[in-house]
């Protein structure tokens, strides 16, 4: 084949190699995303051939639906609760794991194991831990705290309980990201700080935290998205109960689409969720950009 310029040739081969994955992505990712938006403007029931166009009807109905409002509230509380704790905890863990301490490999593995364990398995284990005769109440009682509640059917504790589980399972994963970031920090910075008389604490806040900022940016975004989409833990541990105290947006989407036969309505709520995630990410990008130095 003849190409007018070297650049054209490179472009041709580049796209040729990309073509197939791009095709697959288009069929299985981009098209469904676009199509979901289209569906959200219809009263779309899989079982009925007649699918009337309702315009923004689904969206208007959504914001009049008390369960959806509750789901938004729960999702936001969940995210606000989990993201900062998770980010700080994983940074802290990474900082410790980056020191030369005995049994470092063991601790790294131990913290990472929850991340590679299936969320279904961890959820079921935590269902037992949180149950009335479970490990948590047993431990609290042993410590002298009188506790006899079922953490997952109590409307006040259900959401925080699931939040704690999520912090535990994903901190290990983000810890690894932070570890990679920490190892890129030149040792000379710490040496210089030591000469200037900075203690461990000051080194952490003045050197480590600013230097891993790009990683923090990545971690916060991934963790935000993960929290907004929380589904499996809710599905397994509480089914959104009691009295919708733990219904989140993606659980609402699932229920409406697959249980109530309302794909259009479900798609509309998914679109709202997508917009919420998109907006949050934009705000973060604008006000907390990854690189300021």
């Amino acid at each position: 084949m003849k190409f007018k310029s070297r650049k054209k040739e490179q472009l041709f081969w580049g796209y040729l190699f990309l073509a197939f994955p791009l095709l697959l992505l288009s069929i299985f990712v981009f098209f469904p995303i676009g199509f979901a938006f289209v569906v959200s403007f219809y009263d779309w029931n899989l079982l009925i051939p007649d699918k009337p166009f309702v315009g923004l009807g689904n969206y208007f109905e959504l914001f009049k639906d008390p369960v959806f409002i509750k789901a938004i509230k729960n999702t936001i509380i969940y995210t606000i609760g989990v993201v900062p704790v998770q980010t700080l905890l994983s940074l802290f863990l990474a900082f410790i794991m980056n020191q030369k301490i005995r049994g470092r490999a063991f601790f790294r593995t131990a913290f990472y194991i929850p991340a590679i364990t299936s969320s279904v398995v961890t959820s079921i284990i935590f269902v037992w831990i949180y149950s009335k005769p479970g490990l948590l109440n047993y431990g609290l009682n042993a410590l002298g705290v009188d506790s006899n509640i079922d953490w997952l059917t109590n409307p006040v504790t259900v959401l925080p309980s699931i939040m704690i589980l999520n912090v535990w399972t994903t901190s290990g994963y983000f810890m690894v990201s932070f570890l990679a970031g920490l190892q890129n920090i030149p040792a000379s910075l710490y040496e210089a700080a030591k000469i200037d008389g900075a203690n461990q604490w000051q080194q952490f806040w003045k050197i480590t935290v600013p230097m891993v900022r790009p990683v923090t940016y990545f971690v916060v975004i991934m963790s935000l998205i993960g929290c907004f989409q929380v589904f499996d833990q809710i599905f397994i541990m509480s089914s959104g109960g009691p009295d919708n105290a733990s219904t989140t947006m993606s659980y609402f989407v699932y229920q409406n689409s697959f249980k109530y036969f309302r794909f259009g309505f479900g798609a509309a709520s998914a679109a709202v969720l997508a917009l919420l995630i998109f907006a949050t990410t934009l705000i973060q990008k604008k006000y907390f950009p990854p690189d300021v130095y």
Binding site: F20, P21, N45, L46, L47, I48, V67, W128, S131, K132, P133, G134, D150, L152, T153, N154, P155, G240, G241, P242, D243, N244, Q255, F258, K259, Y260, F261
Partner: protein, 406 residues
């Protein structure tokens, strides 16, 4: 190595391009190995009887309703499948099922009149029959004979007063730590456990014509009694005992009585074989009342093998197939002749279920699917947030108005 993923993908593509299979596809869910064994036995018998009907049994192990919905929506539905009674109204309303009356009228062997009336009309919608009940189950009362004897009680409670009184006498602290650890009764924050009490009090969730009745005094009064069992501490709930369901609490002898269907029998056999239990009809309120659960066999409109599918349905829900299917007591027959020939009226346990059929109300709510989660949320509010019963039920009534079928 990307091309490795291509192989299954292309196979899938090829498979979906091939023309419709020329055999009947029969789909069910599976809840236990025993159940699967009996289904296969029944199907083997069917083969002998009808060697001309080619079929394939394709069970779906999990997420059954979601899967069936997608299969129907994409035109790939099996030719014959099980449909849970409580989800049936939506499917009948969407007109995706084939009316079976034309088949029944020309099928000599089917004998529709043999079905108990409550099950014969279970899947009748706007004058057409869309399915036949393959078996049923009903809520009855299980009681622990040993605990009853310890408390000096002989028979099971016959009415609400006795239920409350017995529960009180059976509730005690066995290990002396000042907290009750044996309860008389167990209930659950679930609408289907509360509903029998409402029925016994002349109440109803939704009337046959679609009027929402959950906010009416009969229902409120029944739920007040139901909740008094828990709030007065003579009944427990599974969550309080760290149990998964009521049968679990009963099998651990943490309660002396429970409401359950016959699915508790194999569970008790496996988990506490030494537990001596008795079974009786539910205690009555103003009148007798219980819930019956059933599963239909249905043929979708889109099927290309309706005639063969009907032959299969007619056998499986017919006298012979149902006899094999229900013989072990794993499920109960919806045909009177089968109950008689299986000797279920002579069996003290199974007879209780057969007697309940006489007044049982079908657990089939003529509403859009969301009624269930809204009702569960209301029940959870009452149990876990101590919400006012009357107010919550009236609100639920208003919410449910939105989900009536027209």
């Amino acid at each position: 190595m990307k091309h490795v993923f291509l192989i299954p993908f292309c196979t899938l593509l090829l498979l979906s391009c091939t023309k419709q299979a020329d055999y009947v596809r029969f789909t069910s869910w599976q809840s236990s190995p025993t159940e699967e064994r009996i289904i296969r036995q029944t199907l083997t018998d069917f083969e002998k009887e009808h060697p001309d009907v080619a079929y394939q049994f394709q069970p779906i192990p999990g997420n059954y309703p979601e899967k069936i919905q997608l299969m129907l929506g994409t035109g790939k539905a099996p030719d014959l499948f099980w449909l849970k009674g409580d989800t049936a109204p939506a499917y009948m309303d969407f007109e995706v099922l084939e009316p079976l009356d034309p088949f029944v009228s020309i099928d000599q062997n089917f004998d529709e009149a043999d079905f108990f009336p409550v099950f014969r009309d279970a899947f009748r919608h706007k004058g057409k029959n869309y399915g036949y009940a393959k078996d049923f189950n009903a809520y009855v009362l299980f009681y622990n004979k040993k605990l009853f004897a310890e408390a000096g009680l002989i028979g099971p409670p016959k009415n609400w007063e006795e239920l409350y009184d017995f529960s009180k006498r059976l509730t005690k602290d066995t290990d002396g730590d000042g907290k009750n650890d044996q309860f008389g009764f167990v209930i659950e924050p679930s609408i289907d456990i509360a509903l029998p009490f409402a029925l016994q009090n002349g109440g109803e969730l939704v009337a046959e014509d679609g009027t929402v009745r959950v906010g009416e005094p009969e229902f409120i009064e029944a739920l007040n009694f139901f909740m008094s069992l828990y709030r007065d501490g003579v009944s427990t709930i599974p969550a309080d005992q760290g149990a998964a369901w009521m049968g679990d609490v009963f099998s651990r002898e943490q309660c002396a009585m429970t409401i359950s269907g016959s699915w508790l029998i194999p569970y008790l056999r496996d988990n506490s074989p030494d537990l001596e239990y008795g079974v009786s009809e539910l205690p009555q309120g103003k009148k007798r009342g219980t819930l019956a659960f059933t599963v239909a066999m249905v043929i979708p409109k889109q099927s290309n093998h309706k005639k063969e599918a009907w032959t299969m349905l007619s056998y499986l829900a017919g006298k012979e197939g149902m006899k094999t299917w229900t013989n072990s007591g794993i499920a109960l027959p919806t045909r009177k002749s089968v109950a008689l020939s299986n000797g279920f009226y002579e069996d003290s346990v199974l007879n209780t279920f057969m007697q309940s059929v006489e007044y049982a109300k079908l657990y089939k709510i003529n509403m859009k699917e969301r009624w269930y989660d809204e009702s569960q949320a209301a029940m959870q509010g009452i149990f876990y947030k101590n919400k006012d019963i009357e107010k919550t039920l009236k609100e639920l009534g208003k919410t449910l108005e939105k989900y009536t079928l027209d």
